[in-house]
Point group: C2
Chain length 168, copies 2
DNA sequence: ACAATACGTCAGCTTTGTTGACATTCCAAG
DNA sequence: CTTGGAATGTCAACAAAGCTGACGTATTGT
C-alpha cells in the first residue's frame, strides 16, 4: 500500500502524488487505444475513419441536429466536418434536409443504412465497455465517470450534460 | 436513481445497461479532449504535436530505450515514429546513441532541453489530472483506474503493467 | 434595404498515420 | 569463414483529417 512515499504526508492525500497522477495519465493513454480499437477495425474495412464514427454517433444521438450544433459538439471546423459529412451523404448513410422553420439550416438524420452501421460500431464499442464495467464492478464505474467528468473542459461538460439524460 | 429501466432487472446489473454504457463512452470521448488540451496548447506554440509529446513522455520514462521498444509501446509504424524522432533529435531535445552490444540499435535519451519540455508538458497535464482527482476523491480514483485497466488490449496492458511500478 | 447567420466549397497547409524500397548490422547454417 | 536471412533503422511518397482564409448563396431579422 505504501508506495515508498514520505510517511509524514497526510494519508488522505497519497492519491494526489505525482507518481499516482502519472499512472493515471498513462492509463488514460493506453485505455483510449482500446476504447477506439474495435470500431477502428470495422471502419477501416469500409474505408472510413474515426471522424465518420463521431459524426454518425452524434447524429444518432440527436436526430435532426443541425450542422452548426454538430460542429460545436465535435469541436472541429466546418470544413473538416463537411468533408466527412459529404462522403456520408454521398454513400447514403446520412440524410440532410432543409429546415422548415429556418431554411438556412440542414437537419441531419441517419438513413436505415446509417443506423445499421451505427449499431455495428456501437455494439463493438459497447461490448468492450461492458466487459470492462463488469470486471471492475458498479462502484468502480461510478468513480470512473466522476473522474472523467471532472477532467472535461467547462464548455465540453455542458455538451456532455445536455445529452446525458436523453432517452434512448 | 431509477432510470426508467425494467424493475424486474436485477438491481446489481443496472450499471450494465446500454444507456449506462453509452454515457461511459461519451464521457470517455469528451474527457480525452480535456486530457490532451493543455499539452496541445503548449505544443502548438513550439510547432510540435501530440506524437512528439508521446515520444518525449516514454523516453523520459524509460531512458535508453530503443526505437523498436518505443515502437511497440506507442503502437505506430517505425516510419511514423522516425519522423517525430528525427525532428526531436535535430532540435536537440533527444539524443540517439548507437548501441554498444548491438550496433543496429539506437538508444534514446532526453537532453537537458528535452527534460525541460517534458516537465513543462507533464506539469500542465498533471495539473488538470490533480484537479480532477481532488474533485472526485480517492475512492473514485481507484475505480477510474480499475475501469481503464480493464479497457486495455491484452498486449497494451502488458506495456502498462511493465512501467507501472518503475521508480520516478 | 441591409447586416448577420447558416451552410457549402475551393485552395493550400500541417500533423501523423500508412506502405514500399533500401542500407546496415547481426547471427547462424552450411 | 562465408553467406543468406532476420532485425534495426532511414528515406520517399501517399492518405486521412485536422487547420486557416476567402468567397458564394440563401435566408433571416432589424
Amino acid at each position: 500500500m505504501n508506495d515508498g512515499l514520505p510517511p509524514q504526508m497526510g494519508q488522505s492525500l497519497l492519491f494526489l502524488t505525482d507518481e499516482q497522477l502519472r499512472k493515471g495519465i498513462e492509463a488514460m493513454f493506453f485505455a483510449y487505444r482500446g476504447f477506439t480499437a474495435d470500431p477502428d477495425r470495422i471502419l477501416a474495412q469500409k474505408s472510413y475513419g474515426r471522424a465518420h464514427h463521431r459524426a454518425i454517433h452524434f447524429i444518432h444521438r440527436s436526430p435532426g441536429t443541425t450542422v452548426n450544433n454538430l460542429l460545436s459538439i465535435l469541436g472541429v471546423t466546418k470544413q473538416s466536418l463537411n468533408r466527412v459529412l459529404r462522403s456520408l451523404i454521398e454513400d447514403g448513410l446520412v440524410a440532410s434536409t432543409v429546415g422548415q422553420r429556418d431554411k438556412r439550416e440542414r437537419h441531419l438524420h441517419l438513413t436505415a443504412a446509417g443506423e445499421a452501421l451505427e449499431r455495428e460500431l456501437s455494439d463493438a464499442q459497447r461490448d468492450r465497455m461492458r466487459a470492462a464495467y463488469r470486471a471492475a464492478g458498479p462502484a468502480a464505474v461510478a468513480g470512473f465517470r466522476q473522474v472523467l467528468e471532472a477532467m472535461m473542459d467547462e464548455e465540453t461538460r455542458h455538451h456532455y450534460e445536455a445529452m446525458k439524460d436523453k432517452p434512448e
